[in-house]
Amino acid sequence: MKTPLSLTSAIILQAVATGRRYGFEMMDATGLPSGTIYPALRRLEKARLIRSDWESTKAAESYGPPRKYFRVTGEGIAALEAAERRFPAVAQLKG
């Protein structure tokens, strides 16, 4: 990705990388409002740093309707490493 990640995008990418798969979980983990998280997720997906999928109907049947989840791509991991060098605070969110 040519344009470096902003701090907000890096925090959200870090949250996805650390296993927060859903928007609501990310809001809890980062403290950012949902109005910031969702547009950022869309941009990250457009930049191919994350991927989104709908849960399979089978998995969803066990607990509620299917939910959209996000996961980091290979490019996303590389971009996150670069962002951690730029914003050391982002690396601290891993724990």
Binding site: Y22, P33, G35, P66, K68
Partner: protein, 407 residues
């Protein structure tokens, strides 16, 4: 509450993404609430947190819409939208209104200039050549006014530079108490710096006469009375002051309506197409007409109340040419629009063959970006007068243009 918020926000999301976007948010809200309740939150606390979460849907929807607009801008397709065209024309109209202080001169011309000004008439005498009017013979006018049942009073005046020379009863006729003469006062469109009363004996020195009718009268009744007077050998023309002042406004309005009607006859098609044309052309003609009225209203009225042909003729020509120009532009713009959605056609492709003028005429074919049809412009239009040819496309083509229908 959260659900209502999401459903409301979904209205702003581009149509192509709306369904999946709404599903994503609604299910996330459902899961979020369940997780909170299972995590030990009370019902009201969970609802409050979910409401805060759902508020983000408004921002997200606005962001999606903005993104969609920016993409449209990048494709330069926004300029083709009919509403953008109307918006631009409306902006021009509003800018013109702001620049002319809300069409101040036209408004002044339309409003009454003096108390009961509908009873004020300017009197003049036909010169007998080309309908030109000269100052009325005051001696005759006064003599006739004395006998007349129509005129209450008549006053004489002469404009000499910035000085208005008047008879003693001038302000009685106008029904104004104070002697104006102050800064900004105008009489017949001319600025008046000072006022001077003339001796009663100098009646023939007046350049014009203004009379007040005893009662409000319409033009036809007054003309009958003046006709009787003419039979007695006194030829007098009376021009209603208000009517004369509003002449540019009336003329511009009638001309604009005539041009609009002419345009409507030529642009017959679907109701939406016609409505768009009517609004667009009306805005254009109104802008031109009011701009012209602003200029025409500032030109002083001749003291005889007639028309100064030297000034009026070029002005009238200017209005007619301007209105014809904007109507032509409007018709040409309309011809280049899709008759279904009124968007400008695009993607020109050269078609036909220059060596085959009968079976395969050369031309350029444009496409409606929404897939409603193609517009063919013949290369020979200028010499043969061949009209633009619109070919509608059937529904099987809609899939090809699906990406364009995201708005």
């Amino acid at each position: 509450m959260s659900r209502c918020l999401i459903v409301a926000a979904a209205a702003a999301v581009p149509r192509a993404q709306r369904r999946s976007w709404k599903t994503e948010w609604l299910w996330e809200v459902w899961h979020g609430h369940s997780d909170l309740v299972r995590g030990g939150c009370t019902g009201s606390e969970a609802s409050w947190r979910i409401l805060r979460f759902a508020a983000g849907a408004l921002v997200d929807a606005a962001d999606l819409r903005l993104e969609h607009i920016l993409v449209a801008l990048n494709r330069r397709s926004l300029a083709r939208e009919p509403l953008v065209c109307l918006g631009a024309l409306l902006l021009v109209f509003l800018a013109l209104a702001a620049w002319t202080d809300g069409f101040r001169h036209s408004r002044l011309a339309a409003s009454a200039s003096y108390p009961d000004s509908q009873q004020l008439v300017l009197l003049s005498r036909p010169a007998g050549v080309l309908g030109i009017e000269t100052a009325a013979s005051m001696e005759q006018v006064w003599a006739w006014v004395d006998e007349s049942k129509w005129f209450g009073n008549v006053a004489g005046f002469r404009l000499h530079g910035g000085t208005l020379e008047i008879s003693r009863n001038f302000f009685d006729v106008l029904h104004t108490d104070a002697v104006p003469g102050g800064a900004g006062w105008r009489f017949l469109g001319r600025p008046v710096q000072s006022v001077r009363f003339l001796d009663p004996g100098s009646q023939n020195g007046y350049a014009g006469a203004i009379a007040r009718l005893k009662h409000p009268a319409d033009r036809s009744l007054l003309e009958i009375q003046l006709g009787k007077l003419a039979n007695q050998g006194v030829h007098i023309t009376a021009t209603f002051l208000d009517e004369r002042g509003r002449w540019p406004l009336y003329f511009a309005a009638v001309t604009a309506l005539m041009f609009l009607a002419a345009g409507m006859v030529r642009a017959r098609r679907t109701p939406f197409y016609l409505a768009f044309f009517a609004v667009k052309t009306a805005l254009l003609l109104a802008s031109v007409g009011l701009a012209w009225t602003e200029v025409a209203s500032t030109i002083p009225i001749p003291v005889t109340g007639g028309v100064d042909v030297g000034t009026a003729a070029p002005l009238v020509m200017l209005l007619l040419l301007s209105e014809a120009f904007v109507l032509r532009w409007s018709l040409e713009d309309q011809a280049g629009r899709c008759p279904v959605c009124c968007r400008q056609v695009s993607m020109p492709v050269t078609v036909g063959s220059r060596s085959s003028l009968i079976l395969d005429r050369p031309g350029v074919e444009f496409l409606c970006t929404r897939g409603h049809g193609t517009l063919r412009l013949s290369d020979l239009t200028t010499c043969t007068g061949e009209p633009y040819h619109w070919t509608p496309l059937d529904h099987s083509w809609q899939e090809v243009f699906a990406r364009e229908k995201t708005a």
